[in-house]
């Protein structure tokens, strides 16, 4: 099975947001692989390996694709170090692209690479758009299973049953091969991904995506990464969505620590008038 995983690099979300000249100031920002995309790489690996034997299944391939500036190559390399096999880095600046441009490029890459399935994050944690997976599925005319918390590959390897966290419960949806699956946080839980090969008794750590091993980091240096540009896919640097400005939200008025519960209830009733 061949899996395509689109990944985006994002500024480390634990850093405080700064605004300069009406836009987010990213000078000197530390960058990471978007958490959900890291989870998507983890998901692809779990689908294509025997976890208990720590071995990849024959005939399996994971390709990561990223649109981003030159130095995003570092985050792409991290995905290779985790275990992806090769990478396509479409070199562009973040100002030149929006969801529609990303989707145009990704759909051209899907047409050329013919993966069996696309697995990706549900959202990039910088823009928080939560759009690209669904738009890509629409463009390809493929089914979609968004917000996957569990994935089970069918015995005949021709479909996936995806557990989706929706309002009011968990929905189970079956999608055939040639679908787009976007993953949610709980996909990295110990038994969230079932591929029919890794024994049921095998427990993944559940602490998130795997960290690249030293061996993985060494191997990644030799894995193929091709650099391409928007024009190679007939895409232009013409985003339809323009950011006019960014502002930080007004800080909340300072609160107070109250000494005991009796005081709290009194204040909630008389001062805040919410009881």
């Amino acid at each position: 099975m061949k899996i395509l995983v689109p990944v985006k690099r994002v500024p480390d979300p634990t850093q405080k947001a700064k605004v300069k000249d009406g836009h987010i100031d990213l000078t000197g920002a530390p960058w990471i692989v978007n958490t959900f995309d890291e989870y998507a790489v983890e998901t692809a690996l779990r689908l294509l390996e025997n976890g208990a034997e720590n071995a990849r299944l024959p005939g399996s391939e994971i390709i990561v694709v990223s649109l981003g500036p030159d130095d995003a190559a570092k985050e792409v390399r991290t995905c290779l170090a985790m275990g992806a096999d090769r990478a396509i880095h479409v070199v562009t600046s973040d100002a030149e692209i929006d969801s529609l441009v990303v989707v145009k490029v990704l759909s051209a890459i899907v047409a050329a690479e013919k993966p069996d399935v696309v697995i990706m994050g549900k959202q990039a944690v910088d823009g928080d758009a939560n759009q690209v997976g669904q738009m890509l599925a629409a463009k390809l005319g493929w089914p979609q299973a968004t917000f996957a918390a569990t994935i089970e590959l069918a015995a005949d390897k021709a479909s996936f049953t995806v557990g989706r966290e929706v309002d009011g419960g968990v929905e189970y949806k079956k999608v055939p091969l040639h679908s787009v699956i976007t993953v949610d946080l709980r996909i990295v839980a110990p038994r969230a991904v079932k591929n029919g090969v890794t024994p049921e008794s095998h427990n993944y750590s559940g602490e998130g995506a795997r960290l690249p091993s030293l061996k993985g980091i060494m191997a990644a240096k030799k894995k193929p990464m091709v650099q391409t540009k928007l024009a190679d896919y007939g895409a232009a640097a013409a985003p339809a969505i323009k950011e006019l400005s960014v502002a930080l939200p007004p800080p909340r008025a300072a609160g107070q620590i109250v000494p005991d519960i009796a005081t709290l209830v009194k204040k909630l009733a008389e001062e805040a008038k919410v009881l």
Partner: protein, 322 residues
């Protein structure tokens, strides 16, 4: 000039609260677009909710067919796109619910429409304000495609009030319904008699410090006393203490109640992203240095084992005294 197509979710003959928020957004947008609000109801049995929707929108389009029995993005998105074309819509909106977030970008993909997700404000015909970076910043974006798709945040728009006179209801055929091989298998529903988390006036949330699901019972007592919805941090939902759909935060529900209790929650930015808009925030935590106290209006530095039972009895006392 163009109309605003508002995709509305319903249960039986009733519109969901998320739909009412969408309709109030759609009224603002229709004024900016110089067009009309058209409410769209899709699904098997949608016709039943037509009269209710007509109380809120001058025009209602119903697409009701047995083949649309379960929501699937694959079958619903082409219906929305087709109605949008037929009705001359320049803006399509769907509240940012689990369905709205799954459906709206697929509709945008079908129409080559630019999309603004999770918007908190309409700033002009094609200009919207939306949170980015887990709500740590607000971005004003302009979308330049002929048709625009948006998902308004329920917590940012009031429920629409009924119109003076009811609108008209028309039906449209679903066209060729093709799920592209996708299948709805089942919904493992979480039944609850409590209000919906997304529009509750009071929310009681617990975190990892609650230690296990059994301990949440005391929070549920507090919630029931206040008519509140239950929420939780990711650490609590991940640990299986409580259902996943209780999660509040960047990747869970966004809530903005009048009163939010954060009990044994540290206040990670991803959690704050989901509740910072609450009017009054109360934090109960044993560690005074936790970031939750920086957003709390009232903080109590205590163990929940002591604080919550006391809170319940004090509120009961207060209620009895009224």
């Amino acid at each position: 000039m163009g109309n605003v197509l508002a995709f509305c979710e319903f249960t039986g003959a009733q519109l969901r609260s998320s739909a009412l928020a969408n309709l109030s957004f759609a009224r603002l947008a229709a004024a900016a677009h110089g067009g009309e609000v058209i409410a769209l109801l899709v699904g098997a049995g949608a016709a039943a909710a037509g009269p209710e929707a007509a109380k809120y929108a001058p025009k209602v389009v119903v697409v009701d067919a047995p083949s649309l029995a379960h929501y699937l993005a694959e079958t619903f998105a082409p219906v929305v796109a087709e109605v949008a074309r037929a009705q001359g819509a320049s803006l399509i909106s769907a509240t940012a619910t689990a369905i709205g977030k799954d459906l709206a970008p697929r509709v945008a993909g079908l129409l080559d429409a630019g999309m603004a997700s999770d918007i908190s404000k309409l700033a002009g015909k094609d200009t919207f304000v939306r949170p980015v970076l887990a709500g740590n910043a607000y971005s004003t974006v302009q979308v330049s495609t002929p048709i625009i798709v948006v998902t308004p945040r329920q917590s940012e728009f009031e429920a629409a009030a009924p119109l003076g006179s009811a609108g008209t209801v028309t039906t449209a055929a679903p066209g060729n319904v093709d799920a592209l091989g996708a299948e709805f298998i089942r919904l493992d529903a979480q039944k609850s008699d409590r209000p919906e988390l997304s529009d509750a006036k009071v929310v009681v949330s617990g975190g990892r410090g609650m230690k296990n699901g059994e301990n949440f019972k005391v929070l549920e007592q507090l919630a029931d006393l206040l008519g509140a919805a239950m929420g939780a941090s990711r650490a609590a939902t991940d640990a299986g203490m409580v259902p996943a759909d209780w999660q509040v935060g960047q990747t869970g529900k966004i809530v903005a109640p009048n009163l939010y209790f954060a009990v044994a929650i540290s206040g990670a930015i991803q959690h704050l992203a989901g509740m910072k808009g609450s009017k009054t925030i109360v934090a109960i935590n044993k560690n005074k240095d936790e970031p939750i106290f920086q957003v709390a209006d009232y903080g109590v530095v205590q163990e929940w084992e002591k604080a919550v039972p006391e809170l319940i009895s004090e509120i009961k006392k207060l209620k009895a005294s009224r």
